[in-house]
């Protein structure tokens, strides 16, 4: 587990105030990066906002139960990753009608809550163009969330070498798209 921020004591020996302080520290440090990660993966500010809330709620439940969260960074990103997988699983199980309705409304939802400049909007589209889902994920973890190879390997359950290969492949594809169309 190299590259993590280290063990974080949220044990039962902490009182309520100390637990809240521990939670606040993690919330302040990771709320934006997790939101950004989810936003790029789902292309929806509302889904990202709800997911951030769910992930931190799970974290608070763990902390208040006295569970020792050893590697909070990995824990949070893994929880967010699972949340995104759930989101797509639920989306797939929607009926055809609902799916069409969802697709119809999604572009409106995406652009109403964040005032994004054209550059970011284009970038979002290019990232979406990377076909392999895992390639896209590791690229975002590396360049949007600024995580190390080891961290990404821990979060995705892969090896550092595999992550390096995927990032290389994804960056090549992204550059092609960016400089060809941009």
């Amino acid at each position: 587990m190299s590259g993590n921020t280290g063990a974080f004591d949220t044990s039962i020996y902490m009182n309520q105030i100390e637990k809240q302080k521990a939670f606040d520290a993690l919330y302040t440090e990771y709320v934006d990066s997790l939101y950004r990660f989810c936003y790029f993966r789902t292309n929806s500010s509302e889904v990202a906002e709800d997911s951030v809330q769910d992930v931190f709620l799970s974290l608070w439940k763990e902390i208040s139960r006295g569970v020792v969260v050893e590697y909070p960074k990995t824990w949070l990103y893994t929880a967010m990753r699972n949340k995104i997988i759930d989101y797509y699983r639920k989306k797939k199980s929607l009926s055809l009608d609902a799916k069409m309705e969802d697709q119809y409304f999604e572009p409106v939802e995406t652009n109403t809550h964040i005032e994004l400049d054209t550059e970011i909007r284009l970038l979002t589209r290019y990232v979406e163009s990377i076909e392999d889902d895992t390639d896209r994920e590791v690229l975002l973890l590396r360049y949007v969330n600024d995580l190390s190879m080891d961290d990404i390997a821990d979060i995705t359950g892969s090896t550092s070498n595999a992550v390096t290969v995927r990032i290389h492949r994804a960056t090549k594809k992204l550059k092609e798209l960016y400089y060809a169309k941009g």
């Binding site: 020996y13 809240q20 906002e49 608070w60 994004l116 400049d117 970038l123 590396r142 550059k175």
Partner: protein, 257 residues
């Protein structure tokens, strides 16, 4: 592996994607338990409530200080409590004048004992609570809630067995001449903290508004029992806090032999 500079340039604007401070605050508030209405009315409700709270507080203080019905004699402020606590206790002292006529001269004007610095038992107090990050309430809003209620901690002494049971009684008495009420937002009304062991972390509390009504001069007692058989403590001095949620808290160093 070094980061690709071209790709870094492509991603340079992603920092703009973030939650607004308001939304961050909103999410945090949804997750963390919030103090109830009774904890902090001044910060959670309208200015009307704030004004009403102050008005009731001042009336309450006036009624408490000039209470001719109290058989305990004049009440003086005792600022000496446990060393780590900012709890203020109001301690009853022996009557210094004939109260039968209803006359009462405040201590500062020669009618009572000077504020004591002794913390000898028994301990009496009203509306005392340690300040915390959870509910940064002022003394004013605290005394408002428990005005006219006299608290007493009984049965605490030194020389406990490290694997025995500590018991304490927290007694509240209505010293006004009207009905007084205590309200609780859940079933866990009393609690203890022995060093870092907090009974509130070990107990599931049922969320339900509960009220205890006390007639004039009526008492209510909470028994606090700490069983040390499963988790014995070391010999020496330990800090024990017992309290009634929202209303009262008392901290004392106790020794184990």
């Amino acid at each position: 592996m070094q980061k690709d500079k071209d790709i870094q340039d492509i991603f340079k604007g992603v920092g703009k994607i973030s939650l607004s401070p308001e939304k961050k605050d909103m999410i945090r508030k949804r997750i963390l338990p919030q103090p109830s209405f009774w904890w902090n009315p001044l910060t959670q409700h309208s200015s009307f409530l704030a004004l009403a709270s102050f008005a009731i507080f001042f009336v309450g203080v006036a009624m408490y200080v000039y209470n001719p019905y109290s058989a305990q004699g004049p009440i003086v402020l005792d600022t000496a409590t446990s060393k780590d606590s900012n709890v203020s206790l109001y301690k009853n002292t022996a009557p210094t004048q004939d109260m039968s006529e209803g006359a009462f001269i405040p201590p500062g004007l020669g009618g009572g004992a000077s504020p004591s610095t002794s913390s000898a038992e028994p301990m009496y107090g009203i509306a005392a609570r340690q300040s915390s990050d959870l509910a940064p309430v002022t003394n004013e809003s605290e005394t408002l809630v428990a005005d006219g209620l006299l608290f007493e901690v009984r049965d605490l002494w030194d020389g406990y067995d490290t694997t025995g049971t500590i018991t304490a009684s927290i007694v509240v008495r209505n010293i006004t001449n009207s009905i007084a009420s205590l309200q609780f937002s859940n079933g866990c009304q009393s609690y203890y903290v022995l060093d870092t062991r907090d009974s509130r972390d070990e107990t599931m509390c049922i969320e339900a508004l509960q009220q205890i009504d006390l007639l004039p001069n009526e008492e209510h007692t909470w028994e606090v029992a700490i069983d040390l058989r499963e988790q014995p403590v070391s010999y020496g001095t330990h800090q024990l806090t017992v309290g009634i949620e929202v209303y009262y808290e008392y901290t004392k160093d106790i020794t184990f032999e």
